[in-house]
Structures are given as C-alpha cells and as structure tokens.
Symmetry: D2
Subunit: 271 residues, 4 copies
C-alpha cells in the first residue's frame, strides 16, 4: 500500500494538467498566457502541448494505477477469504450483533466483504483495459474516448474509494484466532521444520543429496501416517548417527522464524 | 450480423437455464421435480447440475457474444468514420435540420454516432474480460461474481441494445456520395488496375518476375508524377510489345470488379 | 465440458471458411467457382463475402471460445488447489515415485499442475481480448491483425491443447482422501445441517422468523464453543417443545443430500 | 514519450528489488545481512518484506507501464496510417529501392510498419491484463504467476524494444509531403477558418447566437456547393454589414495558427 500511495501520487500529478489551446491546439484565438492563468486558478499545470484534447496516456496511467490498487486490495481480500474458510479459520470478518446470516443457513458467517472486494477488482481491472484502448485516438484527438470515460472514470474512482473504505472497515474489526493459527501450524506433524533438519544435516557434513533423501523418506512417512516427523527422525539410525537428540530437537524450534520479525517491521514501517 | 444473430441465439439458449437445487445443489430439501416445474413456468430449462449457483461459463459465453456483436458494430462505425473524413467524404451521418454543429466550428459535421459507437465497444469488450474472470469461482460457488455482474450485466446488455439501435438509425439516414466514391477511385491515376495489367502480361506469356518489374516501374512513376498509369504503359515499348492498345485499355475497365456482385449478394442475402 | 465441446464445435465450424475472391473481394480476376473448388479441396466452405481478408469476428469467436474452455479448466484447477491445501487435504495431485519435492522443503507436495493451469488460463483470456480488438479493422481489411495473430493463434491453441492434456493427466491420477472429506464435513459440529432444523421447525408450525432466531442462537454458540449443534438444540426447551428427539436426530442425517445423486448423474451423463 | 520515459524509470526502479528471505520470508535460515549483500552485488535493493516471492504488484506496474508505452507508439502508428492513406497522403513510410510492393498490386506502398506496430500494441496491452491478474496470489505466494510470466515478460519486453526501434526507423526515414498538407487544408474551401469569422462577428458586437447562425448557413452552403466560404460571406449582407472586406479577409489568414508554434516547441523541448 505504501507503493500504491507512491504510484497514485505520481499518477495524480501527471493528470493534473489543463489546456485552453483551441480546437486544434494552436492557441489561434487565445494567448497561451490565458491557459496559464486559468490552469493556475484550477490548481492545474498547463499541458505543454495539446490538441483538441489532452492526450489519453495520462488518463490510462491514472486508471492502470487504480487497477493496481484494486488488485492489491484483492490480494488482501483473497488472503482473508482463505483464512476464514472453515478448515482454516484463522480470522473472521466481524459479524454485527443484529446481522442475520445466510437466509438458508443461520450459522453461516461468510466473508461477504472480502468476496465483494475480490469481484470489484475485476471491474477496475477491466476499465483499465478500456482506458489503454483510449490512447491511440485518430489524429491524436478523436472523441471516441468520451463515451468510454463517462463510464470508466466515475466507476473506477468510486469503486476504488469504496474498496479502500470497505477494506479498512474489515481490517479494523477483523476477528483473529491466534490459537487456531498455532493449531494449523501443528497440523503438519512438524513437517514445516523439515528444511531446518535438512540444513542441520548438511552442516553436520552429510552430502546434500543424501540429506535430502533421508529427510524426504521420513517426511513422506510422517505425512502419510500422520506421525510426528521428529519421532520418525529420532528412530532413523542414519539421522541419529549424525545429529544428537538435542540437535534434532533444536530443528523443531519456531524461534528462528521469529528472530527477524522486528527487523522486517522496521524495514516496512520505519524504526 | 447474420453470424452474430446465430451466435446470440446460441448464447441465449445456453443461458436460459434455472436451478432450484438447494444451497449445495443436492436437492436435499426440495425434489428435482419442483425445479422442473418452476423452470417451465419461467420458460427456462433446469441446469443439469448446479451448486449454490449456475456455473459462470454460461454468463461469460453470453457476454463474450455481446462483445463480438459490439466489435462488429465497431467495425462498421470505424468504416463510417473513415468514409466521412474530409479527404474521403464518401458518406456522412445525417445532420438534423435543427442540429447545431460543433460549438467552436459551425461548419463541422462530425461522425458523432460512429465515434460514440467505437468507444462503447471498448466498454462491452472490457466487461467480457471481467465475465471470463468470473468463471473460476472457489468450490464452483463463491459469490465474488455477484458484485461484478451487478455492473457488467445491465451495462453490457443496455449498451449493445443502444448500439444496435443507434447504428440502425445512422445507417437508415446515411448520406452517400456516390460521385465522390468514383472520384476517389480515380485519385490513383489508374493504379488500382495494375493487377489486371500484370495478369494480362503473364497471360500473354511474359514471365511473372518480368511482368511485375515492368508494371512496378510504371506504377511508381505514375504515383510519383501524378500521371495516368495507362498513359505510361502505352509509352513503354516492352509492354506494348506484348499487349495491344485494346488489350491494355481492357485492363482499365471496372466491369470485372462488378461482374460477380449479384453472386455475392445472393450468397449473403439469399437469391 | 460438454458445453465447451458444443461451443468449440460451433466456433470451429464458423472458422472453417476460405476465400479466393481477390485483393478487394470482387472476384475480378478469378471466378467464384474457383473459390468453391479450392475450398472443397481444403474441407472449407467459401466465406459468403470477403474483402482482402476473412472478417476477424470469426477468429475472435474462436479465441473467446478457447478462453471459455481455459476458464473452465481454471475452475477445476482452483477447486483442486483448494482441496489439496494442508488444512483441507481432500485430494492430492499424484506425486511420482522418483519425483523430488520442493528443493527447500523435502516434504512439500505442491499442486504444481493445478497452479500451472490456473496461470495459463490468464494467458488464453488475455489473448481473447487481443482477438476482439482485431475485429474493427480499417475498411474491413487492414493488416494490423496479422502481427497479433502470429502470436495469439499458436499460443492459444497450443496452450489449450496442453491444458486439456495436463488436466486429464491430473484427474486420471488424482489421489482422493474420502475419509478426510467426511472429517471435514464434521468440522462444523453439525452446523451444515442447520437448514434442515430450520425447515423442520417451520414445518412443525413455528414462524420462520422465530425458527431462524432459535437456530441461529444455537448455531452461533456451537460455532464459538466447538460444541455439537445437535447437543445444544436438545438442551433448548423452545426447540424440544416442538421437535421430538427423533425428529431432531433426523435433521442431522446426510441421506437427503445423497437421495438425488443418481438423478443428477443421469441428467449430466445420460441414463 | 517524455512522460513514458519518466513512467518507465519509476516502474523500473520499483522492480529492481531482490529477496533472500527464505521459503516463508522469515529469514529463518539466513540473516537479512546476506540478502543486503547479495542484492548489492546484483545492483538491487532488498524488498522490505517478502514471502516466498516478491509481490506481483511490482511486476504488474512494470507491465502496465510497457502497455502505456506501446499504446503511445500505437497512437503515432495510427496517425501515420491515416496520413499515408491515398486520399490524404501527407506522409509515406520509406520504401527501399529493392523492396517489392504488394504481391498482387505492384504499385501499393502500404504503411506496413505502422500497421505492424498497431497490432503489436494489442499484445502488450493484453499481457498487462494478465500481469494484473497475477497480483492477488493465494497467501501472497502461490506460484500461478510463474507460467504466465514465462510468456508475458519476454514477450512484452522484447516487443516494446522492437516497437521502439521500428518506430524510430520509420520516423527517421519518413517521407513528408508538405505540399499535400497545404492542399488538404484547402480542401475545406476555407471552412477551417469559420471559427475566426465567428469570433470577429461577436467582437464586432453581434450576439453569439446570431453570429453562429450567419456563419453556419454560409458554412453549410460552402460545404454542399463546394464554394469558398470567403466568397459566400462577402455576398452575405448581414455579415458585410458588420465586417469590412479587410476584416473578413483577415479571418482567412493562417498566421494566428502559427504564432505560438515556437512557444509550444519551447514548452515541450525546452528553450
């Protein structure tokens, strides 16, 4: 979203131009100084050159930027929809006290906002395509873009405003099930730590090919037999021949995954 | 347009289905016969299988068909815009007695309808893209298509209806300048007949490579010096060594281009 | 897919036309019968009317049809990806005996084919958009479509062929975890049967509003406290005042969901 | 193109990031300093946060920027195609001495490069749409974008490079028919000056409505009867009652259209 804000600022700045250069852009009946004065009153910069119109690459730049913002919102919406599905259930969209569920199924709490946002992004994306088609006008000034822009400009700007507001509301009131997050991590019987085992083996001198083979055969069995990976590795003589019980246990520690969290936050949000 | 009508009929037929199969499509609470009866009342066929929704490939098929119709209208609109440009001027959109021209330029009669139709096609095309994105719903039944269809369905159906009506009006009242058509043909100093000369030479036994060279050198000169091609060919001894004056003159006859017009009309519109 | 086959047949049929009507479509140098004969040799029908080219709405129809097929494949691929995620795990793409997992994580068995197919559909969809832009050519015969079609025709036809083959392979070897399907159904503590309870209450004379309220309050508690819905309803005097223990138990039967399976199969695949 | 260069610089800068943060972006097995060092060696900045992948809004930004550049090239190509048509003929693509014309028509010099560029822009535009669909990946890191990017990245970057080179070559060798430009201006019998007459009348005190009516009736007649507008106005007593012969003649001067050309050039290219 920081990137999108930067993109939007650039897209907006290059759009904030005006023109008053006459029907063919020659200032034949109106001095360029009038354009400068009029634009200043409107908070605009004069377009350095114009025809009957301002060139539509500016508008397409603006609308593709809105499509990028919409797609970024969609990415978050897709994430929320995944996290809310019954089998995952790590988050839930807030459900008002008075709010009724699905008409057929009283228990259902659907990710209605996230689904709505996912769809709306398709509209903004489609409109960006139409905006790009508006660029190659005949003689740099036919009027075929006009009927298009009467739809895509209000639709896209209103939609992105709505999407930003709705996403903010969803995130502000998001119900987060931290316990479920940990439980889901544990669903894999420790398989999420397989890479740490692989690295520990290679650091202990095992050739990577062999280490991979050892880990994979235990990982596969763990997966198929729903047995903790740590247990299987502890019973594998080739593995225990190289890694001590303590070294093996250390591989199943979540701590390394959390060690750099503060660094990452500082990189994104500043110190 | 005959093809589009056939496409539309197929697209409409596959859309005219209904469903009443319950929240997960199992008819758990409602016998399939109820669906059959309800659909019959609505003039619909029951979808053979459905989930909470009817699958969106049907709707995408419908909207891509509208985009094909819109693009075909756009093709005609682009043709009219070309034919109306000042330097060509073979047709003009009718201009009402009371209608004012451009606000700045009282003489201007712009192809406003054709430009409008060109733009609107971009909207219908963009909506078809959004409809295609609606097909891969999660578990064949998420609701993300809903926010999209609330826009693209009314917009695309209304737009195509409007476009068809507006195109019909334009064509009904189109001003055709037949004299200008002939004049434009003559702009080329007879170059449009160069292929007939080429064929006449090869039929008279000249190797195609040589014939091409002879015609091209005269064609180029005709083009650059604004001299009738027939005149230059008549003065070219290599050409006249093979083609008599009468044979050469016959190459500049428009008749062969018109000989099969009735055949073509019969093929398109029936005998 | 049955619908797609029908669409493809229609799209293919309308594409299988040829033309040999000369540079401006007038048959000036070549009798229409030559076109008929030549087309017959190629298994084509003559286009009833043509310019220098065959009109591009035919090609756009063909490519939007491929995009519909690709989107339908994408829908199945999205379904498989969902079903394969660790927390759901109802199916898995087959994993060859010799196949290595992720390079970093030896245990990982990703839905690589389904993800690949999901992406490829975006390409075919994008190409359909370009094909639609090819329709409004200048004077119904400029050559701007040529550079486009050299890419989108081989790309889209090869991609859809590849996608169909790859999807078939995935489905042929799909590992299905039926036990896990049942387990996932049970994850909801019986909430999936809430609609049956609601209907039973209303059939027993409870006003729908009240019935909804009774079911919802128990459904909510079941969801939040991870308690079987049946248990909670059995302890709710308002509910048990209307429904007997047997009537309540009947609501939690899966049988009604399976009662019409054979009917549905017969509707889709024939008796 | 100056705007496009600025857009490209911004798009490129935000793409030039790298990541080495591990399979889930936690730096679990590799200190962030390694990422910083590795990126520095590659001339990249570390992405402040990453998952298994770098977020695809960056790539979509890059590809929509290429689509903007392609659309701007298309705009110029469309202009050249218009200017080259037989009835306009203000410019021509250069035609090599050895180059053959159309195989059927030896005289034809088609705007082959401009038509090619028009088509290629559709491909780059379509690819930008696919890039936007790549943004909302599952859990911010599925791999469905991979199969898409293997096509759209090489295709779009190579195409835009080719388009820029080809457009440059066309413009470097463009044949400009200045005489024909003047002749085309005169095709309108002076109607292009109607706005100057309108303004002169209003400046002389005629109400705008009346002035418009006077000019339009003469403009219409000029257009329909192919008579110079100046001649008709000179014979219109209402007009001559207000404007002297000299004042009327001044309206038909091209000079005001050229008065600010240097100002415009300075605004675009610098003093």
């Amino acid at each position: 979203m920081a990137r999108n804000r930067e993109r939007f600022t650039a897209a907006r700045r290059q759009m904030e131009v005006g023109m008053l250069s006459g029907a063919v852009g020659t200032f034949a009946h109106c001095d360029p100084r009038v354009e400068t004065l009029a634009c200043a009153r409107l908070g605009l910069t004069p377009a350095p050159i114009s025809t009957q119109i301002i060139q539509r690459d500016r508008h397409a730049h603006y609308l593709t930027t809105l499509a990028l913002i919409a797609a970024s919102i969609e990415r978050i919406a897709v994430e929320l929809r995944h996290l809310q599905r019954t089998e995952v259930l790590e988050v839930e969209e807030s459900f008002g006290k008075q709010q009724k569920g699905s008409s057929a199924m009283p228990h259902k709490k659907n990710p209605v906002s996230a689904e709505n946002l996912t769809g709306l992004s398709r509209l903004v994306r489609a409109n960006a395509g139409a905006a790009l088609e508006n660029v190659p006008l005949w003689h740099e000034r036919d009027i075929s873009h006009s009927s298009v822009e009467r739809v895509i400009f209000p639709d896209s700007t209103i939609l992105v405003d709505y999407m930003l507001a709705r996403l903010t509301r969803v995130l502000d009131h998001l119900v987060v099930h931290a316990g479920r997050m940990r439980a889901n991590l544990e669903l894999t019987h420790g398989l999420i730590h397989s890479q740490q085992v692989l690295l520990a083996l290679t650091r202990a001198g095992v050739a990577r090919e062999a280490a991979y083979r050892w880990v994979q055969r235990n990982a596969m069995r763990s997966w198929e037999e729903h047995t903790p990976l740590a247990e299987l590795l502890t019973a594998d003589p080739e593995v225990t021949g190289v890694l001590s019980a303590a070294a093996l246990a250390a591989c199943f520690d979540l701590a390394p995954h959390l060690a750099h969290v503060d660094t990452i936050f500082a990189r994104v949000f500043g110190a």
